[in-house]
């Protein structure tokens, strides 16, 4: 094992305020865990020499020789509440963060475009920052489940994406290296259909077609959700 491992650990900086908050929250959680474990010890549980595989807390064993992890089984998981797939609040905050970052990063992104894309398209890409569509957010908040993939697919709102120019993803989109390109294509295709259905819905007049368009939108959302689950 090389002695000089990760380079990024060499330059260490003091934790920022956000990180301090996280540290504080973690400490409070640890205090809660300690208190619960102390109560269990006084009840006659046995403190084992092993740690939980998931969270690293020391395991307890009750009188029936069943192992018990205080933090996994009693307290709300520390990590789950940040997972947008499981928590609506986290999803909303993630969307907002991306939005903020896209706004700040889009101007910096513009100079990186070189070659093929003309300046007009680049300016178009920089100007038309894809705002999260309201129905996406509402769907996520109401359903409370898998969020539609964030509008990090920065397709500008032109109906037909220019094939030559693959719009650069803004740096805010979380690099998910696990998503295979096939899934990405599938997502794009579904999104395109979704967009088209939405446009149609806006302009439709008959009840029957509206209902059908809505069901199409629902099925598109479902397929996007399953695509998201697949990618995780």
């Amino acid at each position: 094992m090389a002695l000089n491992g990760d380079d990024k650990d060499f330059e260490w900086e003091p934790p920022t305020e956000a990180e301090m908050k996280v540290i504080q929250a973690r400490r409070e959680r640890q205090d809660k865990i300690s208190k619960l474990m102390g109560d269990y010890l006084l009840k006659g549980y046995r403190m084992l020499a092993e740690c939980c595989d998931v969270c690293g807390t020391i395991l307890l064993q009750d009188k029936q020789h069943k192992n018990y992890c205080v933090s996994c089984q009693e307290l709300d998981s520390d990590v789950d509440k940040d997972n947008p797939a499981l928590n609506a609040q986290a999803a909303l905050s993630q969307v907002r963060e991306r939005q903020l970052a896209a706004q700040s990063a889009a101007p910096s992104q513009a100079p990186e475009l070189n070659g093929g894309p003309s300046s007009s398209t680049s300016s178009q890409a920089s100007v038309s920052v894809p705002l999260p569509r309201p129905e996406h957010c509402e769907g996520a908040a109401a359903g409370g489940r898998a969020l539609l993939p964030p509008p990090a697919v920065p397709s500008p709102s032109t109906p037909a994406p220019t094939p030559a120019l693959a719009p650069p993803r803004p740096p805010v989109s979380p690099p998910t290296p696990a998503i295979s390109p096939m899934l990405l294509e599938a997502e794009e295709a579904v999104l395109v259909k979704l967009r088209w259905a939405t446009n149609q819905l806006q302009s439709s007049a008959s009840l029957e077609s509206s209902i059908q368009l809505c069901s199409l939108i629902t099925s598109c959302a479902n397929s996007l959700r399953s695509l998201k689950e697949l990618s995780q």
Binding site: W12, Q30, L41, M47, A49, G56
Partner: protein
């Protein structure tokens, strides 16, 4: 977390700082609620249905089921500490947890970036280790002086004479006496109801066992060593039935109903071996030699000869007028029969401690060879009769007065309790009180060598006696804690010491901006110390702030704690702090005189909340720092599987040089 290493195939678990912290925090949450005068009690129930209430930290910690090696190591350290000082197990855990928390915070904020470590966790661990070592070094060198200067002047020095002449100073306002010290100890251990009773009993016991012309600590040593023989637990009675009995109680009954003898003095002999040796034992060969006329002897003749010799022994005893035989072993039926015939009572299977105490008090040596019984083996007793204590019958002896032990009036304490558990609890509290008094009156000047010895001893499981012999070494520095130094309870020690630490840190001339400097260490230690009074006053944080401000303002107002006319005497006392450690009789009287004459100590310091021993607190702090630094050195745990046990047994392995993950210079 678990990594398999190499060909050894032993699972190695790397311990991170968080694990250590979590383990100790769990132990802290267990003892925290029983801490302090307002702490609660823990109800222990056994599977047999037996229930017991206790507040003793050592008892709570031993009752926990802990398989985690680090937790067990910490509990062992606590137990070893409490066998020496008798008190402070919960304080130990609280201090340790707060120190670890502070070290963890500091190490995370500023890890040692100068070394190239592979990961942030390793850097944090190294920083924590350095910090703990630095704190320990500081404590070993300078803490003693800080306490002598910053805390001791605000306390008082109890002298042994105060305690023995307590009956004369009946209602002294300040009540600086050993009784108060004991009462506050028993208050924290047993509760408010019985603390006075127990402290009175203990004081009476100690008064009786005082040796003339000797240091008070020697009588405390004697009582501590012989405590098992000096007290009798009796269950089934309320504690108010506890009393002192003259003489010694031997915890055995007579082997046969003894005839009442009215002659005085009663003569007794102590036997350590068999009067009639067993003839045939397993794996032994008895060889019968040839007798007169070349005839082969047989076993019948041999046993007849053995009986005749036994009769001769008994006749010898009768000639000496002995009427009581005390034996360490179980004698044979023939001996009992012959003794009954000769109107002698026999007590069998007496424990060695009791026999040695008996021998010491009576001045008679035990008989080793029963064919040679001389008058010096005969002990003179005033009486020797059975006594019924609770459900058991014991033998009660009283010694004939001899010139050697004029001041010692042998007495034995009968401790009553409603149930067995309760009685046991009172007896343990008594034992710990004696230990606490001993460590108060014999504050050991801890040198660096004894400190390192203690670190090693606290890590390995040594027997009780090894730990007990902490040498009463010469003082390391000039000033030594006076014997009998006490201070008001309720967190005063911690407040004063943290204030002194902060002042020392700020006045330190070393301009050391790094984390490892002395001012930083003082600051961290001062913060950690405050966790103890914070826990004491956890029910009312306002009282914490009030007490703190009151004490600190008094400290600042009184640059000299004794600011009245008796300044010269007090100056001599303070100068004496820097001098020798002996407390001659005249100066002892001086202390008493000064304390009694003028209300010198400001009321801020001598509150009604009782007294605490300064040296016990100091030893707790040192022990905690040593434990913390040795616990932080552990960075890998090897899980070993032993063949004998079905479950795997795990032992911690302190790897001093780190694993191969770290790049150390």
């Amino acid at each position: 977390m678990c990594a398999f290493q190499g060909a050894g195939m032993l699972p190695v678990e790397h311990l991170h700082l968080e694990h250590v912290l979590q383990t100790v925090c769990v132990l802290e949450s267990v003892v925290r609620r029983s801490f302090g005068p307002e702490g609660g009690q823990v109800l222990f129930t056994q599977d047999t249905g037996r229930a017991m209430l206790s507040r003793s930290g050592a008892r709570i910690l031993t009752a926990l089921r802990l398989e985690h090696p680090l937790a067990r190591m910490v509990v062992e350290c606590v137990l070893k500490h409490s066998t020496v000082t008798g008190d402070g197990s919960k304080t130990f855990i609280l201090l340790m947890a707060s120190l670890l928390r502070i070290i963890h915070t500091t190490a995370c904020k500023e890890p040692n970036v100068s070394h190239a470590y592979n990961s942030k966790a390793a850097a944090e661990a190294a920083a924590a280790r350095h910090l703990a070592d630095k704190m320990l070094a500081f404590a070993l060198e300078e803490l003693h002086d800080l306490i002598a200067v910053g805390v001791v002047p605000y306390g008082s020095c109890l002298s042994w004479e105060d305690f023995t002449t307590q009956t004369q100073l009946q209602a002294h306002a300040n009540n600086h006496c050993v009784q108060n010290l004991l009462a506050s100890f028993f208050h924290s251990r047993l509760g408010r109801t019985h603390c006075d009773l127990m402290s009175n009993l203990t004081c009476e016991l100690l008064t009786h066992w005082e040796f003339e012309n000797d240091l008070p600590s020697s009588s405390l040593h004697f009582v501590k060593d012989n405590l098992a023989a000096l007290h009798t637990p009796v269950s089934g009675f309320p504690i108010s039935c506890s009393r002192l009995m003259k003489g010694q109680v031997i915890h055995r009954d007579f082997a046969a109903p003894c005839p009442r003898t009215d002659r005085q003095p009663v003569k007794a002999v102590v036997f350590t071996g068999f009067l009639q040796p067993k003839l045939l034992r397993a794996e032994e060969v008895l060889e019968l030699g040839c007798g007169e006329e070349g005839k082969q002897r047989n076993i019948v003749q041999f046993s007849a000869w053995a009986e005749r010799s036994l009769e001769r022994v008994i006749a010898n005893l009768q000639r000496l007028g002995v009427s009581v035989l005390l034996s360490a072993v179980k004698q044979s039926a023939a001996v009992l029969a012959l003794a009954a015939q000769a109107e002698m009572s026999v007590v069998e299977c007496v424990s060695e401690d009791e026999l040695s105490l008996f021998a010491r008090l009576s001045g008679a040596t035990p008989v080793t060879d029963c064919w040679m019984i001389e008058p010096e083996h005969v002990a003179l007793l005033t009486f020797c009769r059975p006594i019924l204590l609770g459900a058991h019958r014991y033998v009660h002896v009283a010694f004939h007065d001899s010139e050697e032990r004029v001041t010692v009036k042998p007495c034995s304490l009968v401790i009553c309790g409603l149930g067995e558990g309760q009685t046991d609890q009172y007896a343990c509290a008594l034992r710990d009180a004696i230990r606490m008094l001993l460590s108060t009156w014999e504050p050991t000047g801890v040198t660096a060598t004894t400190a390192s010895e203690r670190t090693r001893q606290s890590n390995t499981s040594t027997s009780f006696h090894t730990d007990d012999q902490i040498p009463n070494a010469a003082p390391f520095k000039q000033c030594v804690l006076e014997p009998g130094c006490v201070i008001a309870a309720g967190g005063t020690f911690e407040f004063l010491l943290s204030h002194a630490l902060l002042q020392h840190g700020s006045s330190c001339s070393i301009c050391d901006d790094t984390m490892m400097g002395v001012p930083a260490v003082c600051q961290l230690l001062a913060n950690a110390l405050l966790s103890v009074p914070r826990q004491i006053y956890s029910h009312s944080p306002r009282r914490f702030l009030l007490t703190q401000t009151r004490l600190l303002s008094s400290v600042q107002n009184h640059s000299h704690p004794f600011s009245l006319a008796h300044k010269e005497e007090h100056n001599t006392i303070l100068i004496r702090v820097g001098g020798d450690c002996e407390c001659p009789l005249e100066e002892g009287k001086l202390t008493k005189h000064c304390c009694r004459e003028a209300d010198v100590s400001p009321k801020a310091f001598m509150s009604d909340s009782g007294l605490e021993s300064v040296s016990c607190k100091y030893q707790v702090l040192l022990a905690v720092l040593q434990c913390v630094s040795s616990v932080l050195r552990v960075d890998a745990v090897l899980h070993t599987h032993t063949a004998l046990h079905s479950q795997s047994h795990r032992r911690p392995n302190a790897s001093w040089d780190g694993t191969d993950d770290e790049a150390e210079d």
